[in-house]
Amino acid sequence: MRQTVMTIIAGVKPGHADELASVIKTIAANPAGNEDLPLAALPMLHFASLVLHDDPELGPRLVFETNSDGSAGDLVSALVATARSGVEAVFGHCVGYPADAGDRAVLSYLHGHVVRPGAYHIGATGRSLARVRQEGRLRDAIQGFLDAGHMAGTTPPTRAELRASIQAFVRDNPEFDWAETCPPRETMLERARYYARAVASLPAAILLLPAAPVALITLVVKELTDRPRTDAPDPAHVRALSDAEDFGVANHLASVIPVKPGPFRLTTLRVVLYALNLIARLRANKGELGGITSIHFAHWSVIDGGRRLLFLSNYDGSWESYLNDFIDKAAIGLTAVWSNTVGFPRTRFLVFRGARDGPRFKHWARANQTPTAAWYRAYDGLTMATIENNSAIREGLFGSLDDDGIRQWLQRF
């Protein structure tokens, strides 16, 4: 099943930034049911955010992030169909927006401002919003069935008996008709496409190989002369960020960071993102990315003609725990990406040190974080790990399992 991670980015009209900020503030109070922009009315939308980034050089920009089922066209069409006034209220403050024009002009404006990420990760790969919710309800219902103790008797049931009774309970409940016939997360065809892309990249990789020694020397020289900026960020800035965090189980993180000047760093960045994206497609389709199990949607986009790197993430747990995961589990990949941006902690050979320097990496990350102006989550209270477990419960409910398989399945409750 197709899912789309993207942003719609537009420059804010001169003098409109404050007014736009106050519009977004109203949305932020109730993003699900805002009068103009009722995001919960979009049945394909998992997470969305609005970020206002006031760039010292490039001026204020609006970043509208969507993580949805279906294509970009599906999302944009639904947005205009159900929330045209909201689109107007927000993008009306942006440069070039066709005010008072027909829907077609608005659609084409939005499409024209869509930015596809250079690399992205989807935790619930192949699971639609409807399915995430259904699987949550299924798990709750089975838990309730187990709590009620229908199987309590003089002799405890065997594993197989217990599973059979759960199967009967689910089959008896018409609400769960879908459970037996649910499609797989990804079809063979979808998987094959990613492998084909990987194979197709090989010739390019081989062609680039002769340039590697020169690139390496250039890199090492740059690494020695780059200036890290890792002093502690302004406490008031960090406090404002953390004051908005840890309501519920998930959080949002946004940053827009200048790419180091010159073609070398930009090229390196694009190559790294391309490679990471392939790895994410091939390896990270089970709610886990490099050992991190807390990410719903995360993406990097090179924007502004290569001058800025945008990062957006919808993750579980605190900022502190997310950054610790970065440092402990994913430092190599993150360093390879972010070391191409200004001020990053000193690195060696692109992937070493950098994010491993925990305290300074955290300083750098907080200093570069942009406050999220409005954030929508279709499901709060469902962590990525829980979504994954719920899927595994559903996937193991029917079909044949050996005794050890049943044992493991029963331990998921």
């Binding site: 217990l162 050992g291 579980d316 605190s318 962590t383 790990a385 829980t386």
Partner: protein, 513 residues
């Protein structure tokens, strides 16, 4: 402790002073900065260090809140170099949210450290072998710091004791799992090391931490250190290291509702008629250890006092599913060790970046089982004076509290928090006991622990104490705030002697010495 400068580190980092079962924790406010600095100068020589064991003479340690350092006269330029957690303190809306300080545990209800109580500046910790010795020592200190209105007590002191068998009030041996500092002489050897050994910088500022860099501490302008007691900071121009040999100290007074705990356990075990063994088993599952301290992961079926102090065990190999020690048991949340289906070694390594050096003690009279006189015993307050040391409060104490203990989705669980410390919310909490063939869930947990006070402190090294004591040589420390003076005056009248708690007869428990 060979790996660190033992003569410059306060002794609490190296020892819990188990040989000194009587202790008092005095919470002080600065009345007169110059007088307070003079007092500090007068006790520096008495402050216990990590060098050698002080057998007879009472032990003494001292720590300061950020507000306390300011009140003492430390300049803004130095105050700004403290981590945000210290600057803001334990009481902010955000921190209350992540620490679970809500409802009856909200700071507005606290006895000290809250928004409606007097600012705490100094924590003075006194440890003695006998009750009389402690009494005498506290009298001596009170006379000294009260003199000339230099400092005053802002809350009743808390008396910490040691209960039989090193237990806490719910009846379980406590303080078993402690990290050991690499190169400091007390490391377990061989494979046992992996569970405990961390770099010294995890707890002692200025030394290499688990990330391989020196743990960042506060600094001062070198010019302000006229007698050069502080080491210079390498690679920083004209800065001296105020943090070196210091640590960040978290103090929380946690009242334990022992009757509520026992009655929940009895109900969960099947009503009042059940045999004590079943009750003990339910309680042990909530804790993760048996009363003796033996971990359920090693002896799931019955207590085994021979394993009482065992700390060299993991979960991945034999108990990944939580059949022995439930996934949500207190000790498994507080230290998940290698509990990971796919990446046990990596998990253990990163878990060890979130260790706490615990130095807390029980306070209040223990409840007898069965109760001696139910009414009276149940109303008396008892609990744990939780105290831990950190190199980074956000990465250690706050992380453990928020990401592990209070996390409703910890380890694949859903909608339950730490059974002992967590806030289960209005509807009552849930606890899952993993079983074969399928789990059993306990419902109706209440909040067994209420927070009564708390604050973040900086526990300086000895040279930093000397630096703080001689701050008066500086031009222009901020004058004492008038309001505080008034507060103090009104206090000294209404609150003398300021020992209600201790004189109302809470000797530090039936300690066994």
């Amino acid at each position: 402790m060979a790996g660190i400068e033992t003569t410059k580190v306060q002794g609490l980092l190296a020892s819990a002073y188990g040989h000194m079962p009587h202790s008092a924790y005095l919470l002080l406010g600065v009345g007169d900065p110059a007088g307070a600095r003079r007092w500090l100068g007068s006790i520096v020589a008495d402050v216990t260090t990590a060098a050698g064991k002080q057998e007879v003479r009472p032990c003494l340690n001292v720590a300061f809140t950020w507000a306390g350092l300011r009140a003492l006269g430390l300049g803004d330029d130095a105050l700004r170099t403290f981590p945000r957690a210290l600057q803001e303190g334990m009481v902010t809306e955000y921190r209350s949210r992540i620490l679970g300080d809500t409802g009856d545990s909200a700071p507005s209800q606290w006895r000290w450290g809250g928004p409606h109580t007097d600012e705490v500046h100094v924590l003075l910790m006194v440890f003695a072998r006998t009750e009389d010795g402690l009494e005498r020592e506290c009298q001596r200190h009170r006379a000294a710091f009260n003199a000339g209105g230099a400092l005053h007590e802002v809350a009743d002191s808390v008396l910490g004791g040691i209960l039989d068998g090193g237990r806490e009030h719910f009846g379980f041996a406590d303080g078993i799992s402690q990290p050991a500092l690499r190169g400091c002489g007390n490391e377990p050897e061989g494979p046992a090391a992996q569970w405990a050994v961390v770099e010294p910088g995890e707890f002692v500022l200025g030394y290499r931490d688990n990330y391989g860099r020196p743990a960042e501490g506060p600094s001062v302008a070198t010019g302000s250190d006229s007698t050069a007691v502080l080491p210079r900071l390498p690679r920083a121009r004209q800065r001296s290291d105020l943090g070196r040999n210091g640590s960040y100290l978290v103090l929380r007074q946690l009242a334990q509702d022992v009757p509520a705990f026992h009655s929940f356990v009895a109900q969960a075990a099947g009503g009042n008629e059940v045999d004590p063994e079943r009750r003990q088993r339910v309680a042990a599952e909530l804790v993760g250890r048996w009363p003796s301290g033996a971990p359920l992961a090693l002896t799931p079926d019955k207590d085994n006092p021979d394993l009482g102090r065992r700390n060299d065990f993991g979960y991945h190999q034999f108990d990944q599913d939580g059949i022995g020690c439930p996934l949500g048991a207190h000790i498994r949340r507080a230290n998940p060790r290698d509990s990971s289906r796919k990446h046990p070694a990596e998990t253990l390594r990163s878990v060890n970046n979130h260790r706490l050096l615990r130095r807390g003690r029980p306070y209040g009279l223990p409840i007898a089982d069965p109760p001696r006189s139910p009414g009276e015993e149940e109303t008396a307050e008892r609990g744990l004076l939780f105290l831990c040391l950190n190199g980074d409060i956000e990465r250690q104490f706050e992380f453990v509290q928020h990401t592990w203990l209070n996390n409703p989705e910890f380890a694949g669980l859903a909608g339950e928090v730490d059974p002992l410390l967590g806030d289960p919310g209005p509807g009552g909490g849930r606890f899952t006991e993993q079983r074969e063939p399928v789990r059993r869930r306990l419902h109706g947990l209440s909040r067994f622990v209420a927070v009564k006070g708390g604050a973040y402190f900086f526990m300086p090294g000895i040279p930093a104490l000397r630096y703080l004591a001689q701050l008066q040589t500086l031009a222009g420390p901020p004058p004492p705030r008038q309001r505080k003076e008034e507060t103090w005056n009104s206090h000294s009248e209404s609150r003398s002697p300021s020992r209600r708690f201790s004189s109302s007869g809470a000797p530090p428990s039936a300690s066994n010495g």
